[in-house]
Subunit: 353 residues, 3 copies
């Protein structure tokens, strides 16, 4: 595609030479005469003068756009240069579809399973009794789908995913490799002197539409009822969601975060990595929890930002952290002040006597 | 079953109408005329007046039990309403057995492996040379059992578990999907200027009877000797147990906790989620470690409860946390006190002169 | 082998009787007349008098070596008794090779894949289109190698590893079970009111020579460009490396540590367990991060040691932790000092009036 063709496709505006042919994408400092690049961060503005790119995507709001200094360079003005760049990248990058076409001969599919049109089933996949799989859903090699589980349409399961029995999965759900959905919740009747009796885990997991779950994350089935991952939730790698949790719509959870049993997270929350939630909490909508934070109590107020173990409101947490960093001096000052007060007391006593 | 039949089966006592037929279990606020529910938490007591349930399990100690206000409602008095409810739930819920019957044709089983009576072996299972599997043990799809490993009777391995070579697993052990037993311990000879030399990991993992290990947890083999998970230990998801650790009988470890090499945990300990243990520690029996705590030294005293990074005794940790939360004010007060002491010093100096 | 033969093989020196035949290795306190043991820690020195071993490896620097008190005991003086012991252990322990010989009939190998000489491919392995596998590389049961991925020579992939498409892996790389290489980075365009749009993850993962990655760890593919694990890096279990991270040569990362996107770690760093790194950081060479630390800013200075959330230089962090542990007393002292200052102020006022 030429620079002009790309600009037209992006609904952007060319400033400079639109005739050069683009073959690849590149960073602005590494680009060559076949490349398109982008400028989204003013730190990189200096490269505009030296870049070898044939085209650079810039923001419509960007003030410094004038005609390029070279006649084989163009700027393309767009609303969001980074997103536009990703679109071009996707268009120019040959797509590798990691999902197998058709149904592999080595798959083990129960007679009672019902597969939708145009499903892809990889090698060594095992599909249990009574499973229902929607149209165009792709299940890659080595996945195991337990008895009586249902998946909607256009889902993508990468290799070696395990979904336990009776799970209900919506449409357009993506599960990355090593994900385990529906393993038993961690429930035992404590016994001070002997074996713990297992509490049977009779509930299920429900995953609504448009959820994505990262590699090796685990979502446990409910003790009774349902563990629910609501529509549009995005979960990163190595995240633990315990029995009976509910994650609200469009909430995002970064890697290695853990939720103990029965905790309910609101909608549109942002949970950073390695955060931990105690059990039976309720977290309001649009709450942000920063990395490594420990949440031990419910958060009823929507929209706040929290940090620390246990969590404090962010600006408070930052003030506390500033004092913590100066605690050795604070402690020394206090000790010195004690000496000074003693001296004052002594001086006053001497005065009196 | 009728209410009376359920009560008899539970060794409970009916107060009210025992003739209604029960078909399902439900929460007290969601129950209908075919449901049995339970009251285990006084917060839910108000629902006793309005529930549509046919029967409610209540504690024998519960004071407010009088004849129900409806003639199609009964209370069943039992020792532990929650446990009784789980028993009824289990009885009324159709059991889904996620384990395949028999030995699947696609399994790869070494000639030298010895399988006990009534084992179940799923699709694509691989069983190595010299493996011994006890009676009624169930190994689901995609599991790999390494060379010379032994499993006892009545174990359950969910899909896609990996057990490395020479592991010794007892009876009635449950391993959830994605568990990895016996991977190499993390041992390298440091080298300040070049590659680290690997320390060969020649030991094994021993898992005793009645252990349950959650999804995607990892138990490393010993460098020499054994990593041991003792009888009745329960481990949640995504837990890391390093080489040469020993976990004492009936200890419970919640999700995402990690133990560094050679640490020994006592019996009947309770370890909450995301806790971390340094290497070469000894933790006494019946110790409780709260969530996200970091344990850097051995704990010799049995029975304590600890929190924090690094851990303090719980009530001490809570007092410290209370001061931490007021550090900005404490710091301000100290600063103000410094000013006041300066003023006093000045006043006294002026007096003197 | 006799004691003398072992000593010769280790280039060590025998003090005492070299004729006894050694059959196994053992701890010094558990050894018998067929065993060789070692002394590497002075805490165990007392066992030299009582051990039943036939030989004990001791350091050449060890001062207390005199002729043993028994005529069927020998000391072998070596440079590093622990390493020497591991070498003997390896020599005397029958090797179990967990890797299958040859290419298993149940493997699914794309016609366009190119396999080097003497590769081992286990049962149910799936190898995608265009995959290249070097000489003597061993891929155990249930592994899935995505389309257009390349592996060098002499790699070892334990069972149930997943490598996504287009990954580039060097020589002598070891991946333990459950590892997932190349899953999508966690990138979504936030949307305050509705679904998050996925940022396509078009980059790849590059793993250089001599890397080892522990069980169930996850290394995400780059959004664009490469996530890079450089030569000689050792990564423990359950570690998360996000999109576009770069881990420098010979760096070691312990279990359950997580790196957010685009963070670059230097060479020869030591990262302990459960540490967390924010995104877009740069960490200098030879930096040590202690367990559970949270790194929120770049560290430009090479060679430092850091601890805490957020991290402080180690000795500073230890001083802070000491003050934190005494905060209840510090707070009480401050309160008492406030009372004393008030009393002084009152006394001075009374004096004045």
């Amino acid at each position: 595609m030429t620079v002009q063709e790309i600009a037209t496709w992006l609904q952007g505006e060319v400033v400079g030479n639109g005739t050069v042919r683009i073959e690849r994408v590149a960073k602005i400092e590494e680009a060559d005469q076949t490349s398109i690049s982008f400028l989204a961060n003013s730190k990189y503005e200096r490269f505009l003068e030296t870049t070898q790119a044939a085209a650079v995507l810039v923001s419509k709001k960007y003030q410094n756009v004038k005609l390029p200094h070279r006649d084989n360079l163009a700027f393309i003005k767009v609303d969001d240069p980074y997103l536009a760049f990703l679109q071009v990248h996707k268009k120019l990058t040959p797509v590798v579809d990691p999902f197998p076409a058709g149904i592999h001969a080595s798959a083990t599919i129960a007679d009672t399973a019902r597969l939708g049109k145009d499903v892809c089933i990889g090698a060594n996949v095992v599909i249990g009794d009574g499973v229902i799989i929607g149209e165009k859903t792709k299940i890659s090699h080595g996945c195991v789908i337990g008895v009586a589980t249902s998946l909607g349409a256009e889902c993508q399961l990468y290799p070696n995913v395990t979904v336990y029995h009776q799970t209900r999965i919506g449409n357009r759900v993506t599960l990355h490799s090593g994900v385990v959905i529906g393993a038993d919740g961690f429930g035992f009747v404590p016994n001070a002197n002997g074996p713990f009796e297992k509490i049977p885990q009779l509930g299920i997991v429900v995953i609504e539409d448009d959820v994505e779950i990262g590699a090796n994350s685990t979502i446990d089935r409910a003790t009774m009822g349902e563990t629910v991952i609501k529509r549009g939730v995005k979960i990163d790698n190595l995240v633990q969601v315990a029995h009976n949790c509910v994650i609200g719509e469009y909430t995002v959870i970064a890697a290695q975060t853990g939720l103990a049993g029965s905790t309910k997270i609101g909608r549109h929350c942002m949970i950073a990595g390695q955060a931990a939630f105690a059990g039976h909490l309720e977290i309001a909508d649009r709450v942000t929890i920063l990395g490594q934070s420990g949440v031990a109590k419910s958060i009823r107020e929507p929209g706040g930002v929290y940090f620390g173990t246990t969590v404090k409101e962010r600006s408070r947490a930052y003030r506390i952290e500033a004092v913590i960093r100066s605690l050795p001096e604070l402690s020394r000052d206090l000790y010195q002040l004690q000496r000074e007060v003693e001296a004052l007391q002594q001086a006053l006593k001497e005065k009196k006597s």
